[in-house]
């Protein structure tokens, strides 16, 4: 157990602020990069982008793996961002807890769906 008294005493918070702040930036940058990759693949398709061209973008195994990682990353990004909104504007603990639970259920459900779509391609 680290020192938690005198000048080293931590008086408040759960101390995940810096970790989440940094994670949100890293995951945001990762998804920006992912956007560029998908965009480049779309622009490289010759002729009109029909079903075949669009589905082929996500078909290679490496693209599925990358997309899966980026979906997880953006889910964490969304969790940090939406939780920030509730923390800033919603004071009553009960309402805030309910919104946190809603956010997690909403996010995990959508993530599961997206991952299912991805891996059955």
């Amino acid at each position: 157990m680290s020192v938690n008294y005198g000048s080293k005493r931590l008086v408040s918070g759960a101390h995940y602020g810096l970790r989440d702040w940094l994670a949100q930036r890293v995951t945001g940058a990762l998804f920006a990069l992912f956007t560029l990759i998908v965009l480049a693949k779309v622009l490289l398709v010759s002729g009109p982008l029909g079903y075949e061209g669009w589905a082929a973008i996500f078909a290679p195994q490496w693209m599925k793996a990358l997309t899966f990682a980026c979906f997880l990353a953006i889910a964490y990004h969304i969790w940090v961002g939406v939780r920030d909104i509730w923390m800033d504007y919603v004071r009553p603990a009960g309402t805030r807890l309910a919104l946190h639970i809603f956010t997690i259920v909403w996010l995990v459900a959508c993530l599961g769906w997206a991952v299912q779509v991805l891996w059955r391609l």
């Binding site: 940058a29 029909g50 079903y51 669009w54 909104i85 909403w106």
Partner: protein
């Protein structure tokens, strides 16, 4: 009244609907606020985003459902409404992406953190995101 019995000030979070409109909104603050609104919008519309991904990519048949949603509509929603909601998503993503890159720049570059650059970069963010939204929106509604 002595120091001990005086009521200590109580700090509360702001009231979003009462306090936010009373603020002065410089360009940088506007971009920041819209970053938050666009993020929340995409979070709330997440099932629609996954549905668009699902139908467009899963099979030839589902792809046709995806395409006809924009022309003939789907369920209770007419085609123009689907296009409108997707245009809101397009704006949200473009604004969130560009404003987010601006924030990353402000995080890593001390020189970028100035009143002047804050304003000019905020204006650039708005011009590019709204401009691209108009161009893509015109394409989406078949203007060209």
């Amino acid at each position: 009244m002595s120091e001990l019995t005086r009521k200590r000030p109580e700090y509360r979070n702001i009231h979003a609907f009462k306090d936010l409109p009373s603020y002065r909104w410089p360009m940088a603050a506007l971009v920041s606020g819209m970053h938050r609104i666009s993020g929340l919008l995409m979070f709330l519309l997440l099932p629609l985003i996954v549905w668009l991904f699902d139908t467009s990519v899963s099979s030839e048949i589902s792809h046709e459902v995806f395409q006809s949603a924009f022309s003939a509509g789907i369920g209770f929603a007419p085609g123009w409404f689907v296009k409108l909601v997707v245009l809101v998503l397009i704006w949200s993503y473009l604004h969130h992406l560009l404003a987010g890159l601006r924030f990353l720049l402000l995080d890593v570059n001390h020189k970028a953190v100035s009143k002047e650059f804050g304003k000019s970069s905020a204006i650039a963010t708005l011009v590019v995101s709204i401009g691209l939204t108009l161009i893509l929106g015109a394409k989406l509604f078949g203007l060209y």
